[in-house]
Symmetry: C2
Subunit: 426 residues, 2 copies
């Protein structure tokens, strides 16, 4: 379908083309002034994904509709805003054109907000056999695999094989890995023994593998230590200073012990999801380097925001962290900047307002770093719940998620553990 233009109204105002409807792109699309610009938002999906809760979809705590929201619905009252489901093939910065699988689109401003994707650091075997958890479908695949493996274990006569089906190795001690390990531990404790009385669920092992010397390395010493303590209390095997060397689908080889497991979940790294056509000299550490205004070196009409962008500041000399809060702030900022530029007003550089970080491990157990405050336990857990609820895009999502959480909390249960589509390795 090349050589075709995407069908769009032709207007006399500048056209902003946004690649990606994540935290950054969506915030930008919402904040651009529709009197000043025509907005075209391109995404492979017709929905926005609230990535921080993907692990709850993977562990059967929430359904997709709780953490995903149709882009068309979010932007339905926004005039001169056009959403198209499209796969980006190439950006042609010199022609001011983006090529996609449904046709080309010309732009006056291009904003790259394509986020991050899983980074296996070149380990092909791990890439082939491990499971990532970066998208909604990957989370659903992971859920299917977890549940299927218990079904298969039921019928496995060989004890070692059976254990291997029930063992989990999570690689990466960041928030995703920690939260996923905690959720699996709760499944093991409260849900699986009831679902599978014919299996000895006590034999199930959960391993969390972290290459650094502590879990949650980006958080404070105190929070890392608390998280470690919580994980241990939930019977999770925490392996620090440990890195995965190889995996054949059966045995996880590390620099220390080998772990037998058919379930390796990879949460150990991400990299910028960089579209084809970005000049080599704009790339650094797997992201697109931008100036203090979010623009690419040498291009005053091409910006990058969110996880894919590498913006260095005084406080963050290696670049701002890949966090939803950075992405949202950059989206807001850039909308304001583009609005101002079109009106001929001056634009100040982006300033990041650090809103802290947090991670939850389990029931009543979380850690929060908020400026000078570092706290854990029940109050941190409630803070985590409240903040995540408020970050959800819509009132309806919030109600559903809150109901699910209350249900799970009161009943020591999970909502749903349907294998809607069986997972098949490709």
């Amino acid at each position: 379908m090349p050589d075709k233009e995407i069908r769009l109204p032709q207007l006399q105002i500048p056209r902003v083309v946004i690649l990606g409807g994540g935290f950054a792109g969506l915030k930008l699309a919402r904040k651009l002034r529709s009197k000043l610009v025509q907005t075209v938002l391109l995404d492979e999906n017709n929905f926005h994904t609230f990535q921080p809760l993907l692990y709850q979809v993977a562990t059967a705590g929430l359904e997709p509709d709780s953490i995903a929201y149709p882009l068309r619905k979010i932007l339905k009252n926004k005039k001169r805003t056009h959403i198209r489901m499209a796969k980006i093939l190439e950006v042609k910065l010199d022609e001011k054109v983006v090529s996609t699988n449904i046709g080309d689109v010309r732009y006056d401003y291009l904003v790259i907000a394509t986020g991050a994707c899983t980074n296996y650091f070149g380990n092909k075997n791990v890439e082939k056999h491990a499971l990532p958890m970066k998208t909604l479908t990957e989370s659903l695949d992971l859920r299917s695999l977890i549940l299927q493996n218990f079904e298969v274990a039921l019928n496995e006569n060989n004890l070692e094989e059976r254990d291997s089906l029930m063992n989990f190795v999570i690689v990466g001690g960041g928030p995703t890995g920690v939260e996923l390990a905690g959720a699996l531990a709760e499944l093991k404790k409260h849900v699986l023994p009831k679902d599978f009385p014919d299996l000895d669920i006590r034999r199930m092992e959960i391993h969390l593998v972290e290459a650094g010397s502590q879990v949650l390395p980006a958080m404070s010493e105190k929070s890392s230590a608390n998280a470690h303590k919580y994980l241990k209390s939930m019977d999770i095997n925490v392996w620090t200073d440990t890195f995965v060397k190889d995996y054949d689908g059966e045995t996880v080889k590390t620099n220390r012990e080998a772990l037998k497991s058919k379930n390796l979940i990879w949460a150990a790294g991400v990299k910028g999801n960089i579209p084809n056509g970005i000049p080599e000299d704009a790339l650094e550490s797997g992201r697109i380097r931008v100036d203090a205004y979010g623009f690419l070196p040498g291009y005053d009409n091409v910006a990058a925001i969110g996880d894919v962008a590498l913006m260095k500041t005084e406080a963050f000399p290696i670049g701002l962290p890949m966090l939803g809060s950075v992405a949202q702030q950059q989206g807001s900022y850039l909308a304001e900047a583009i609005n101002s530029r079109i009106k001929g007003k001056p634009v100040a550089p982006f300033v990041y307002n650090d809103q802290g970080t947090m991670a939850t491990v389990g029931r009543n157990k979380a850690v929060v770093d908020l400026g000078r405050f570092r706290f854990g336990g029940l109050f941190a857990w409630l803070t985590w719940l409240f903040v995540h609820l408020m970050l959800l895009v819509d009132f309806r999502n919030r109600i559903i998620v809150l109901s699910n959480w209350i249900w799970s909390y009161v009943n020591f249960d999970r909502g749903t553990r349907l294998i809607v589509r069986k997972y098949k390795r490709e």
Copy 2:
């Protein structure tokens, strides 16, 4: 994996193997006395599907977890009851063995409750290009296709092609076809114009094709006429005395006009989902003929219940209808019958208690036949809502479905219209 036995505890009491966890099989499994028998429930899925609401999943009104429920959770307090995810390969009635993809299982009693599957009446072209809606995955595929086709239409320059993407032909004027047509009409009226302001949704056409002389042929004259009136009022093209002769994915050829549409939904017929190995002489009209006790001719330990079974009675000389209420009653009856036989007590033949039929068309519009009473409109609609809510398997499902319905009713909206997995024709 043949020549292997499914791993199960070996007990000294009779083993009942149930094929299928639908209305019939599930009811049976719940009602069998676990002191008297060991129960093995085999199903391809790990969940029970509430089929009457599949059309709401297909039209983005409900999510899978609202109408599906994990079998393990339903049966978790039932002792000596074993659920295995398995695909039936063959029943070997003379050896008292069922072969599955995970191994063989011996039985003392076999109950076939495999339900019904879509019947294309031998039309290969229709089977290839039309979409069925009999399982949860098929409903999700249908939802993806509907939403995807509107996305594609957005970018289609040819008006005729665009219309073809937005037109729907539903074949079959039974409850499924009527309810689906109504739900699509509501999407057209309230949801799609907001989601796709760049499309002229008024051009979307919904056709309901029925081979008989009226819609809902199994219901009373009055209810059929009411349903017809409601469908017309919702701008649905109702084609009675019309049957589909061919379909190539573009044009639906009928005995009357040809209809251009890329969306043909087949709700025109079902047939028994008959496992391999059933003797030819037990088959009749695509179902398994059973006696007044639910057993196969010549086998006092093999029964069939639900849609797959053909049980003739005085009131239903061509066989009891394929309805959830028949299936549930037969499941209850057979449990009681098996319990009694094991205790040496006499067993009376099955008696069907007709609980009426109903169908909903849209907001405040439904028809109900209940004994001598035939009514339509708001009261029928509320009856439909109440009955379907109560039929849902679990308190949690009921709450979620009710919340979704209230939300949709108040906001003239649908909950979710996510394309979680893109539909790809095989």
